[in-house]
Amino acid sequence: MNRNPQASFQDMILALHDYWAAQGCVILQPYDMRMGAGTFHPATTLRALGPEPWNAAFVQPSRRPTDGRYGENPNRLQHYYQYQVIMKPSPPDLQELYLRSLEVIGIDPLKHDIRFVEDDWESPTLGAWGLGWEVWCDGMEVTQFTYFQQMGGFDCKPVAGELTYGLERLAMYIQGVDNVYDLNFNDRGVSYGDVFLENERQMSKWNFEVANTDALFDLFGKAEAECRNALDAGVPIAAYEQAVEASHIFNLLQARGVISVQERASYMARVRDLARGSCEKHMEREAPRWAAEYEGWTA
C-alpha cells in the first residue's frame, strides 16, 4: 500500500500502526471514554501492572478542557490525538525501535536534530512515576519516552516502556505547516480544520462557559460513588473507568473556574484514591494467578 505520511495526517497514523504492528504490538482502537492522556487508557495503566508481557499501540484522543482556544490558537487544542506505544517488559532496543518509527514517518535523523532530553514523568493522580526523556526534533518536543517504575503505587515488575507521540505537532512538523487547522488530513482535500475546527469552537465554549457546574459536581460525586460500588463488587476494571470519568469531570470543573486553589488539592486526592483503589483491587484480584504462572514474581 502506498502511504504518504509526509502529506497526510491519517497516513502518518497508519504508517505508525503498520510499523508497531510489525514490532508485535496489538493495535487497539481509542478507548471510548474522555480522558486527559493516553496514559489513562487501561491498556497502559492496568496493563503496566503484573508480570504478563504486553505490547500495544493505539491512538487516544486527549481531552484538555483548559487548553481550548476556541479554534483561534494555531497550536493549542482541547481535543487532540496522542499515539501511545507500550511495551512490557521494555525491550533493550526500545530507543532504536522508536527512532526507526520516526524514519518511517519521514524524519531523516541526519538532517534533523533528534535529542533525548531528561524529562521524568509523574502522575500523582495515578500514583505513578517513571524516568525518561522528552524527545526533541529540532528543538520541538515530539514524544514523551518513559520507563514506568511505579503504577497505582505498585512497583512495575517488570518495567514497561511507554511512548507518547503528539500526533498533530509531529504532523505539523513533517508537513511544514504552522497552523494545526491547515494540516492535510487525508491528502484528498480534507484538512484538519475541516474535521475539527467547529468542534474546537463549540467545545471550548461549552468547556469554559456553558457546562452546568452543578451537574458536573453531581457527576463527580456519582462517579466517585460508582467507583466504590464497583470496587466493593470486585470488578476493578469497571471501577477504573469511573476513576477516569471522575478525573475528566474534575478537569471540566477546573476549566469552568469553579474549583479554588485550596479545593483543587482535595479533588485531586479524591481522584487519586479512586485510581489507586482500582489498581490495588486489580492487583489483589490478579496477583495469585500471576504468582502461580510466573515463578518468583511477587506483588
Partner: protein, 700 residues
C-alpha cells in the same frame, strides 16, 4: 611486578541527564579509587569523561598483579586454656597445626599471594556499578521482574573494560563486557572495536563522538561565540548553557538562527528566559548591548544540508514560544496591577496565614510604618504602601504564571507601562532582593521599605504559627528571608528592632553564618548576644567589630586572659556576692537569716556596715578599684553613645591593674573579710567588662 598497563572502562547507557554528568564522573572516579585501594592497587593518573551516552574512565599504569601480602596475628600462649585457643582458631579460620609456635606464643600466619589485577578489575567493575549512586535511578527490561534487579540512571547498554589490550571479563545486569562500543547515534550507528585506552578517544572521534566533555564545552563556547560574531553580533555568554549543551551532545555543532524582530518588543529578560529555559539556546546582543533577533542552538549532528532544516525547525519552535510570551505581555498590560492585585485574595499563602491578599495587607502596613517612623529614611509612606500593595500583583499575570522566575521583574515592567512612578516600579521589581549571595541589596528607599517589610512579615508570620526551619528543612525559605533582611539592614544601616524571642535567636544564628563568611568570629557575636536584649543588627555589628579589633590588640588579649582568670575564680568559689556570703554564714550574722520585714532596716544597716568596713587593702587592690571607678562610667557612657571603640578603650585601662592584681594579691586569704572583698572586686571587674560583651563566650 613485571609490568604496568592502562585500563579503560566505558559504561554505556541510554541518555544520561545533562545535569547529572559532572556528579557521575566524580562518583565513577571515587568508586574506582575505593576499589583499587581495597585491593591494594595504586593507579597512576585517572581521567574520567562523559557524554550523554557513556561514562568513561582511563586509569594509567596499573600493575599486572597485586603484591603478595603476609599477615601475622599474634594468638594466645601455647599453654593457654583450650577455650582461648578455640576462639583464636575460629577467628583466623586456621587449624592448630597451621599455627606457628614461637617461644611458647602461637601465631597465625596468612600468606596472600598477589592477584592478577585483571581479576581484581573483573570484580571491581560490577561492584562499582552496583554501588553507584545516582540522584535518581531506575530498573528496566526483563530483569526488572524482580525489584532486586540492578539500577542505573537509564538502561545500561554496554560495558567496555580493557586492561592493556586484554578484555576484563565481567557481566552486570545481563550486559557482558566487550571490546565493542558504539559511535554517534546517527553518524555511526554500527559497532566499533576498541583496542584499549590508547586508541579509545581517537576511534570515537573518527566515529563522530568527542568523549572529552571539556573539549565539547570549549567547542560550544567558542563555536557559539564565533557564529554570533560572523553575524556581526556578540554572544551573551552563559556557562550553564555551555555545560548543559555539552551534556546533550556527542558531536556539538552550534548554529545561529534569526527570529522575527517584532518579538523584540517583549522584555529582553522574557526572550532570554524563553530561549534558555525552554530551548537551551544562547541569545545575542548587538554592538550597543541590546538584545538581538538571533539565537544560537547546539545541534548534535553535522547535518546533510548544513543545518538549514535544523535552524528552520528551531526558529519555528522559538517563534511559537515567543508568540505565547507576546500574547501574555499584551494581555497582562490590559489589566492594571491594582486590579490584578484583587485576585490575590484567591490564592492561599498558607492555610494558617490566610491569602496572599492578607499578606499584602500586612506588608503594606509595615512598609508604610517603616517609612513613617523614619526607619527607612527618605521613603514616602504613601508610595511605600502603594508599592507594597502592588508588589505581588504580577503573581496572577499570565507571564509569571508561565515563567515564575520573572516574578517582580514583570511587576516592574507592568507598573512602568501603566505610568506609575519609577520609584514604585523599581520597588515592585526589586522587592524580592537580595535572593542569592551574589544578588544586589536594595538601596533605593522605597525598595528598601517594601523588600524589608516583605521579609520581616514572612518571618514574623511563620514564627507566629510555629513553622520554623528544622535541620535541612526550610520549606518557606525563612533562612533566605532572614539573611535578606540582615543584608538590607546592614547595607543601609537601618536602625530597628529586628525581632524578639525565638525569631531574634534565629536572626542571631543567620547572622553568625553570614558573618563567618565575612571573616567575623561567631564567638564574638555570641559574646554580644549573650548580654541579652540586643535586637539592633547595626549596633550589634558595630559592637562586634570594635570587639574583634580590640581582642586583636595586646591589651585586648591580656584583658581577655585576666577576665577568664577572674571569671574562673568566681566560678570556682561560686561567688554570689557579699550579701549571699553573709547570708550563708548566718552564724556570724544571725540577723541575716531572719525573714521579718520589720527587721529589714536593721539587716540592711548591718550589711552596709560590713561592706564598707575598711579592710586593709593591698596597693594592687586599691589600684584596681580606682581604675574601675574611672572605667565603669566611661564604658557605660560610651556604650550608651554607641561609641564602642571608646568603650573598649575604657576597658583597656583595666588591663594593667588586673594583671598587677593577679601578680600581687592572693584572693583566697584566710581572713574571710579580705577574701570576700577581693572576690567582690573581681566580680566588679567582670561586670565592668560585661558592659561591652560577655567575654566568657570568647574563645581562646
Amino acid at each position: 611486578m613485571d609490568g604496568v598497563s592502562d585500563f579503560l572502562l566505558e559504561l554505556r547507557s541510554e541518555e544520561i541527564p545533562a545535569r547529572m554528568q559532572a556528579g557521575a564522573r566524580a562518583e565513577l572516579e571515587k568508586l574506582f579509587r575505593q576499589q583499587m585501594q581495597a585491593a591494594g592497587v595504586t593507579p597512576g593518573a585517572i581521567t574520567v569523561w562523559s557524554t550523554p551516552r557513556r561514562l568513561a574512565l582511563i586509569a594509567c599504569d596499573l600493575p599486572d598483579a597485586t603484591e603478595a601480602v603476609r599477615e601475622e596475628t599474634k594468638g594466645p600462649r601455647a599453654s593457654a586454656p583450650p577455650q582461648a585457643l578455640e576462639g583464636f582458631l575460629r577467628k583466623t579460620g586456621l587449624t592448630r597445626e597451621q599455627l606457628e609456635d614461637r617461644d611458647g606464643v602461637l601465631f597465625a600466619v596468612i600468606e596472600k599471594p598477589g592477584r592478577a589485577v585483571k581479576a581484581v578489575l573483573a570484580e571491581a567493575v560490577p561492584a562499582i556499578i552496583r554501588a553507584f549512586s545516582w540522584p535518581k535511578s531506575m530498573r528496566w527490561g526483563a530483569a526488572s521482574q524482580s525489584t532486586e534487579s540492578p539500577r542505573w540512571v537509564r538502561p545500561l547498554s554496554g560495558i567496555v573494560a580493557i586492561l592493556g589490550e586484554e578484555l576484563v571479563e565481567c557481566e552486570v545486569a545481563g550486559v557482558p563486557s566487550g571490546y565493542a562500543t558504539v559511535g554517534h547515534r546517527f553518524h555511526h550507528p554500527g559497532a566499533i572495536t576498541i583496542g584499549g585506552a590508547h586508541d579509545y578517544t581517537a576511534k570515537l572521534r573518527a566515529c563522530h563522538v568527542l568523549v572529552d566533555h571539556a573539549e565539547r564545552e570549549a567547542l560550544i563556547r567558542d563555536g557559539a561565540a564565533r557564529v554570533a560574531a560572523e553575524a556581526g553580533l556578540v554572544l551573551v555568554a552563559d556557562e550553564g548553557l555551555v555545560v548543559e549543551n555539552a551534556g546533550l551532545t556527542e558531536w556539538p555543532v552550534p548554529l545561529l538562527g534569526r527570529f522575527d524582530s517584532a518579538f523584540l518588543q517583549v522584555p529582553p529578560e522574557v526572550i532570554q528566559l524563553t530561549a534558555r529555559v525552554n530551548q537551551k539556546y544562547f541569545v545575542c546582543q548587538d554592538a550597543a548591548g541590546k538584545l538581538a533577533d538571533a539565537f544560537v542552538c547546539t545541534a548534535n549532528i553535522e547535518a546533510s544540508d548544513g543545518g538549514a532544516a535544523i535552524v528552520d525547525g528551531n526558529r519555528k519552535v522559538l517563534a511559537a514560544r515567543l508568540s505565547d510570551a507576546r500574547f501574555f505581555w499584551d494581555q497582562d498590560r490590559k489589566v492594571p496591577l491594582a486590579q490584578q492585585a484583587d485576585k490575590l485574595g484567591r490564592i492561599t499563602f498558607h492555610e494558617k496565614l490566610g491569602t496572599v491578599a492578607d499578606k499584602v495587607e500586612r506588608v503594606a502596613k509595615l512598609a508604610r510604618w517603616l517609612a513613617e517612623e523614619g526607619i527607612v529614611p527618605g521613603a514616602d509612606p504613601s508610595l511605600a504602601e502603594q508599592a507594597a500593595r502592588l508588589a505581588k500583583a504580577d503573581l496572577v499575570t499570565e507571564m509569571v504564571g508561565e515563567f515564575p522566575e520573572l516574578q517582580g521583574l514583570m511587576g516592574g515592567y507592568y507598573a512602568r507601562a501603566e505610568g506609575l512612578p519609577d520609584a514604585v516600579a523599581d520597588a515592585i521589581r526589586d522587592h524580592y532582593k537580595p535572593v542569592g549571595q551574589a544578588d544586589e541589596v536594595p538601596a533605593a528607599p522605597l525598595t528598601i521599605a517594601v523588600a524589608l517589610a516583605d521579609k520581616l512579615d514572612t518571618l514574623r508570620s511563620f514564627f507566629a504559627i510555629d513553622e520554623k526551619p528544622t535541620g535541612s528543612k526550610d520549606p518557606f525559605a525563612l533562612r533566605r528571608a532572614a539573611l535578606g533582611a540582615i543584608r538590607i539592614v546592614q547595607a543601609n544601616a537601618l536602625r530597628l528592632s529586628i525581632g524578639e524571642g525565638d525569631l531574634l535567636a534565629f536572626f542571631a544564628d543567620r547572622l553568625k553564618v553570614q558573618q563567618r563568611e565575612a571573616g567575623v568570629r561567631h564567638d564574638l557575636i555570641d559574646a554580644v548576644f549573650a548580654l541579652g536584649g540586643e535586637d539592633d543588627i547595626v549596633r550589634l555589628l558595630n559592637r562586634v567589630e570594635a570587639l574583634q579589633s580590640f581582642i586583636g590588640t595586646e591589651d585586648g588579649a591580656n584583658l581577655l586572659a585576666g577576665y577568664k582568670r577572674a571569671a574562673n575564680i568566681l566560678k570556682k568559689e561560686d561567688w554570689q556576692g557579699v550579701d549571699a556570703e553573709i547570708a550563708q554564714t548566718g552564724e556570724e550574722d544571725p540577723l541575716a537569716m531572719v525573714d521579718d520585714p520589720d527587721l529589714k532596716a536593721v539587716v540592711d544597716a548591718r550589711m552596709a556596715e560590713r561592706r564598707t568596713t575598711a579592710v586593709d587593702r593591698e596597693p594592687a587592690e586599691a589600684a584596681l578599684a580606682e581604675a574601675l571607678d574611672a572605667a565603669e562610667p566611661e564604658a557605660e557612657q560610651a556604650v550608651a553613645a554607641e561609641d564602642f571603640a571608646a568603650a573598649m578603650a575604657a576597658l583597656a585601662t583595666l588591663r594593667a591593674p588586673i594583671d598587677r592584681f593577679f601578680d600581687e594579691v592572693t584572693v583566697n586569704d584566710p581572713d574571710r573579710n579580705k577574701r570576700s572583698a577581693r572576690l567582690e572586686l573581681l566580680a566588679r571587674f567582670r561586670a565592668a567588662v560585661h558592659n561591652v560583651a560577655d567575654f566568657g563566650r570568647i574563645e581562646g
